[in-house]
């Protein structure tokens, strides 16, 4: 049953149902303009903010799916403006494009170009969602002649506990993932802890006071701050701001090793800043514990042979860099590749980009790579071609229409001038 309403002018006005109102809202031009403006503002504010808080923290704040709302900051000061998070703005833009750019748009040959272009943008947004939820990024910092078969995940720590064999070689470590630690924040008000048990290890590990970013200080008698952690083995943790130049979280925490045999518990400080395991013994066996960023095993090995680079004059920003690497494929066959800026190595769904370069130290060269697995890696290219095709089609349609119109305009003028010429000739005769 359709609802009707009588307006003051006496015309019968159809009362729109709720789904129609929702559809109208999501397909409106106003929404498209608003979302695009908001996205522009988010990009602008995040670009400014990342110079203060670093790329990862800013990307997390503005672009992560958990960021529903954002209060931007300029030079560390909050500005009185609440913006929706970029992820959810893109979701609204996606709905807007589908409702307005595909469903609501008039159908016909004239609209085919814009429909194709809209479809390309919709696919681009889908690519973004797939990338956000399915891609994995890792870092591989390489030293010349070093062989690497792993990357570490930025922004994700882990706690690794393992046994040493009789030759004091590491055995496969138990891994406590970031998600199990991040809620044990040191400043959470009530002290939080979690006990981790391991199937064949004779002790439990209790974790507490987790820091996203902390520095290790030596307890040398200098005044301590209220929020400083406890002193263990002469050192303690102090929460610090992330360094935007390195953009690296120095995850840290306090742990207690509790042996099952009732022997004395042992307190330790673990930190990302410590690049090696700490050791302890239980029941006459040696064990290790450490807190690296989550380690990601690669399907191939990479060995850095040479790295080259140049900085922009007077800066530490590389203007050019490249690396020669030897890598082994899954069959163990050695291959040589040159990786340059924007020319990555792609193999078995893994893409290896060079992301940084460090000048040689003591004759040893260094390169930093980023490794990405993303099922939608090449989709943006397709999306852009689709949008390009749609716009070109639309442009040709418009151009041909214009030319046709101009030709039609000039034809009657021509015929008029011919009639005038004939009349003149008659008069002269």
């Amino acid at each position: 049953m359709s609802k009707q309403n009588i307006s003051t002018s006496g015309k019968v006005k159809k009362k729109k149902s709720i789904p129609v109102l929702i559809f109208d809202f999501f397909s409106s031009y106003l929404l498209a303009v608003t979302t695009l403006t908001v996205l522009g503002l988010l990009v602008w504010f995040s670009t400014l903010e990342q110079t203060v808080y670093g790329l990862s923290a800013t990307a997390e704040k503005y672009y992560h799916s958990s960021a529903y709302f954002v209060i931007p900051e300029i030079n560390g000061s909050k500005i009185p403006l609440i913006l929706p998070g970029a992820y959810w703005t893109c979701v609204i833009l996606f709905l807007n494009m589908v409702c307005g750019g595909i469903i609501r748009i008039r159908k016909g040959i004239k609209q085919l170009g814009p429909v194709i272009a809209h479809f390309g943008i919709i696919l681009l947004l889908v690519t973004g969602f797939v990338d956000h939820h399915n891609s994995v990024h890792g870092h591989m910092d390489t030293r010349q002649f070093g062989t690497y078969d792993y990357a570490w995940k930025r922004g994700k720590t882990s706690l690794e506990v393992f046994k040493y064999d009789d030759e004091q070689n590491k055995t496969p470590p138990y891994v406590i993932k970031h998600e199990m630690l991040e809620d044990l924040q040191h400043d959470s008000g009530t002290p939080k802890y979690r006990v981790f048990k391991f199937k064949d290890l004779p002790f439990d590990v209790e974790v507490r006071n987790f820091y996203d970013n902390a520095t290790i200080f030596v307890d040398n008698g200098n005044p301590r701050e209220k929020t400083d952690g406890a002193v263990i083995d002469g050192i303690f943790l102090r929460a610090t701001d992330i360094d935007p130049t390195t953009d690296l979280y120095m995850f840290s925490c306090y742990v207690t090793i509790r042996p099952h045999d009732g022997s004395e518990a042992r307190n330790l400080i673990l930190s990302r800043t410590v690049n090696h395991p700490l050791t302890f013994s239980v029941e006459g066996k040696l064990y290790g514990i450490e807190m690296p960023n989550e380690i990601w095993k690669m399907p191939y090995e990479v060995r850095l042979v040479n790295s080259y680079g140049e900085f922009y004059p007077g800066t530490e920003r590389p203007s050019y860099y490249s690396s020669d690497i030897i890598w082994k494929d899954s069959k163990g066959v050695e291959k040589t590749s040159k990786i340059k800026m924007n020319e990555p190595l792609r193999y078995q769904g893994f893409t290896l980009y060079q992301a940084s370069w460090t000048p040689p130290t003591n004759g040893i060269e260094y390169s930093g790579f980023v490794i990405v697995t993303n099922p939608a890696d090449q989709w943006p290219v397709t999306c852009l071609w689709i949008s390009f095709a749609g716009l070109i089609f639309h442009f040709i349609m418009k151009l041909s229409k214009y030319i046709g119109k101009e030709q039609r305009k000039s034809k009657p003028a021509d015929s008029k001038s011919k009639v005038n010429a004939k009349a003149k000739a008659k008069a002269n005769a």
């Binding site: 792993y150 496969p172 048990k197 008698g221 302890f280 040696l286």
Partner: protein, 214 residues
């Protein structure tokens, strides 16, 4: 008009109710708390990260085999390998540019003792420091054992200990590098650990990258 408003409300309220219901479910699922006790079963496959500390930016470039009862602590600039034995004894391995002579003088100085040290290691005499054996790369190492009242200043804080002892090992690895391993603690503990320290020094190896020599 009133009737129409009421009608619209009856449609909007179920819609809002559904939204609120879905949000509540999502929030409940999203806020699921991790229990206080968790059993970890996931073990990571070993990789190059586990083989070589030098690959991951550690200051350390030594491969050491430690006595099981020693505890390895976080490295510092001057303590590339840093261990704690018992509650009070520390073992620190350092790599410096300097002379054997200056280290001997400094270590004895921490006990308020002055020694006359010859200019060459070949002239060292028992009572000061003696050549004891070879370690890393077949280089000679020298061993000293100082006992007494220990006094040193660390970061502006003076540390004083009675009945203390330092068992030190110095190895002139090459013209530029001096490797020192120093164990400091109560005399009773260092005496027990002296053998372990010597074994530790003799088992020490470099983490090498064969191609570095190219």
């Amino acid at each position: 008009m009133k009737k129409h408003h009421t009608h619209a409300r009856t449609q909007i309220f179920p819609f809002l109710r559904n939204i609120a219901f879905l949000s509540a479910i999502l929030l409940t699922v999203g806020c699921e708390e991790i229990p206080k006790e968790v059993e970890i079963t996931h073990q990571r496959e070993l990789c190059k990260f586990d083989e070589n500390e030098a690959l991951r930016g550690a200051v350390n470039r030594f491969k050491a085999k430690q006595p099981i009862h020693w505890r390895r602590l976080a490295e510092t600039k001057n303590r590339i390998l840093n261990y704690r034995v018992g509650e009070n004894t520390e073992v620190a391995l350092g790599s410096f540019r300097g002379s054997v002579k200056s280290n001997i003088i400094r270590w004895y100085g921490q006990y308020g003792q002055t020694v006359t040290v010859p200019n060459t290691t070949e002239e060292l005499k028992p009572g000061i420091m003696v050549k004891h054996g070879t370690m890393i790369g077949n280089s000679d190492y020298y061993l000293l054992d100082i006992k007494g009242k220990f006094e040193t200043s660390m970061g502006g804080v003076t540390v004083k200990q009675d009945d203390w002892s330092t068992v030190g090992i110095i190895c002139q690895y090459n013209d530029e590098e001096l490797i020192t391993i120093k164990m400091t603690g109560p005399t009773s503990e260092t005496a027990k650990e002296k053998k372990n320290l010597i074994k530790f020094a003799e088992d020490l190896k470099f983490i090498t990258f064969p191609e570095d020599k190219q």
